[in-house]
């Protein structure tokens, strides 16, 4: 299975993960500062800044796009509960 790496810059930890993993599945296990609430892409609690590797994430769904817009999220921000890793290296920070 293709692998990817996610670096959680706020705790200095890089995790190797299978492609298809959502950011939240890793961030909560590793104890990073990305927090979560509803886990359904609605509450925006898990807003995450993508420091680099944005292109390695699946494009946001219509729902995620709307929630990001409603919450005035800056560019290169995603919902960790929705963002799926496709491969490559990604560096993230809590928003």
């Amino acid at each position: 299975m293709p692998k990817a790496s996610i670096t959680f810059q706020d705790i200095g930890v890089t995790v190797t993960v299978p492609a298809g993993t959502r950011l939240i599945e890793v961030s909560e296990k590793v104890g990073a500062g990305i927090t979560y609430g509803c886990r359904e892409g609605e509450c925006c609690t898990c807003l995450t800044r993508i420091v680099s590797g944005h292109e390695h994430l699946a494009a946001p769904s219509v729902l995620e796009h709307q929630v990001l817009k409603d919450n005035l999220a800056p560019r290169r921000h995603r919902l960790a509960c929705q963002a799926q890793v496709l491969g490559g290296s990604i560096v993230v920070q809590p928003a």
Binding site: S5, E28, A32, V67, N71
Partner: protein
């Protein structure tokens, strides 16, 4: 003071601005978490312009009749062009569905963050073509005057906003700068002494969001304020800036002294094992400083203190470590008492870890870690558990735990690479 029975007319606040809210003098607890010795008021307002009337907020559902009678005393429903909901919590939105029915020509203006909550309050079909999302820089035109909007989220819900009427210098601030204090004399220069309610309200409603409080104050302080019209409690027309300044003082970080970072170790111990682990954790944290005072490390026995002063310390701290023995498969009550108090302050993003001794199962440490994560702290290091009497290796692990957490604070932790399969 109980409201006079005939007080069901709108109350003038400024030129073309009326209070049309409701008094709830008998309320004794609000949202479960607040005591309300003086009841509360649900403040709603009407603003008249040359081209229409705006209603700003409504009231709790069972006070709707009073609200509508007051509204009807100063406006007809077909004059209402605009309904602003600065905050959608039920005590402000209770009369909204009926108001939308009675004022079919009105457009509802809310913050973009309100979209999610609206789904839980109204049938989307009822709102079709009648809603607009507004933020800082947007305005609503009432002809000879305008309402302007300030996006001020998390005061205390994601949707909260303030509305500014520049023509009269009135800020409609929703729960911000409000308090639960019912007095039909309504204005701060006429009501009884409500200072305790104002401070208490901040402590219980706004304090967990103090970062957002500061951001909102940055928007509000430059305004030429004449009147602050909050969603609860007295309207602040005498010295409104004093209340803004009080919030600024509340929301300011406390002094850290010489240290750049602070790390607190809390423990409780039945036979002294967890206490000695705590001392090793603290010593490890101390060892991370390459210069004196780089990290201020403090050690507290939960058996000897009440939760509240510790909560105050925690609000200002950068890292928190909790030590608890496992008794009957759980961490002990003083630990939970403290952890359950942390929703009163902003702990998001602080570093945290857990440790403790145990007899045969050792659930306390993972239970504390789970709670810390759900409180939105960072818990990047696995806790340390020791069976009964800690060994030298156990103390070394505690020392390392304290040191590593402190190094994280100082930005000097060694980067790690992990495979997902290694994580539980």
């Amino acid at each position: 003071m109980r409201p006079a029975a005939d007080l069901e007319r709108a109350v003038p606040v400024a030129a073309g601005v009326h209070w049309i809210g409701a008094f709830d003098p008998d309320l004794r607890s609000f949202d479960i978490i607040l005591r309300t010795a003086n009841g509360t008021s649900y403040n709603a307002y009407a603003v008249r312009g040359s081209d229409g009337v705006a209603i700003i907020d409504t009231v709790k559902l069972n006070f709707s009749e009073t609200f509508f009678r007051r509204l009807e005393s100063i406006a007809d429903y077909d004059e209402i062009t605009t309904i602003v909901l600065n905050h959608l919590e039920p005590d402000h939105s209770g009369a909204l569905p009926e108001l939308l029915r009675r004022a079919p020509g009105a457009t509802l203006l809310v913050s973009p963050q309100a979209r999610l909550m609206l789904k839980g309050l109204l049938d989307p079909a009822e709102l079709a073509g009648r809603i607009a999302f507004v933020g800082t820089g947007d305005h609503a035109d009432l002809g000879d005057r305008q309402l302007e909007f300030l996006n001020t989220p998390y005061l205390h819900w994601p949707d909260t906003q303030c509305t500014w009427l520049a023509a009269e210098g009135v800020l409609f601030s929703a729960d911000f700068l409000g308090c639960h204090y019912c007095d039909s004399r309504l204005f701060n220069d006429a009501v009884g002494d409500f200072r305790f309610s104002f401070d208490y309200y901040y402590a219980h409603i706004m304090r967990p969001f103090r970062t957002y409080v500061r951001t909102a104050l940055d928007l509000i302080e430059p305004l030429p304020l004449r009147i602050i019209a909050p969603g609860h409690g007295p309207i602040l027309r005498r010295d409104p800036r004093d209340y803004v300044a009080r919030y600024r003082a509340f929301a300011a970080p406390a002094l850290h002294g010489a240290a750049t970072k602070t790390l607190l170790v809390f423990y409780i111990s039945a036979y002294g094992a967890t206490r000695r682990m705590a001392e090793a954790v603290a010593a490890g944290a101390e060892s991370a400083s390459s210069a004196a005072g780089e990290v201020r490390v403090s050690l507290y026995d939960l058996e000897g203190g009440d939760a509240q002063p510790f909560v105050d310390l925690i609000e200002e701290a950068d890292a928190l470590l909790f030590g608890s023995p496992t008794i009957n498969g759980d961490a002990v009550k003083p630990v939970w008492d403290l952890l359950s108090s942390l929703t009163m302050v902003d702990v998001k993003g602080k570093f945290a870890a857990a440790f403790g001794s145990y007899g045969w199962s050792g659930e306390a440490v993972p239970m504390i870690e789970d709670r810390l994560r759900r409180l939105k702290l960072r818990v990047p290091l696995p806790g340390v558990r020791a069976r009964l009497t800690p060994t030298g290796d156990d103390f070394a692990a505690c020392h390392d735990l304290g040191r590593e957490v402190a190094l994280h604070l100082l930005g000097r932790a060694t980067p790690r690479t992990i495979d997902l399969a290694q994580l539980a």
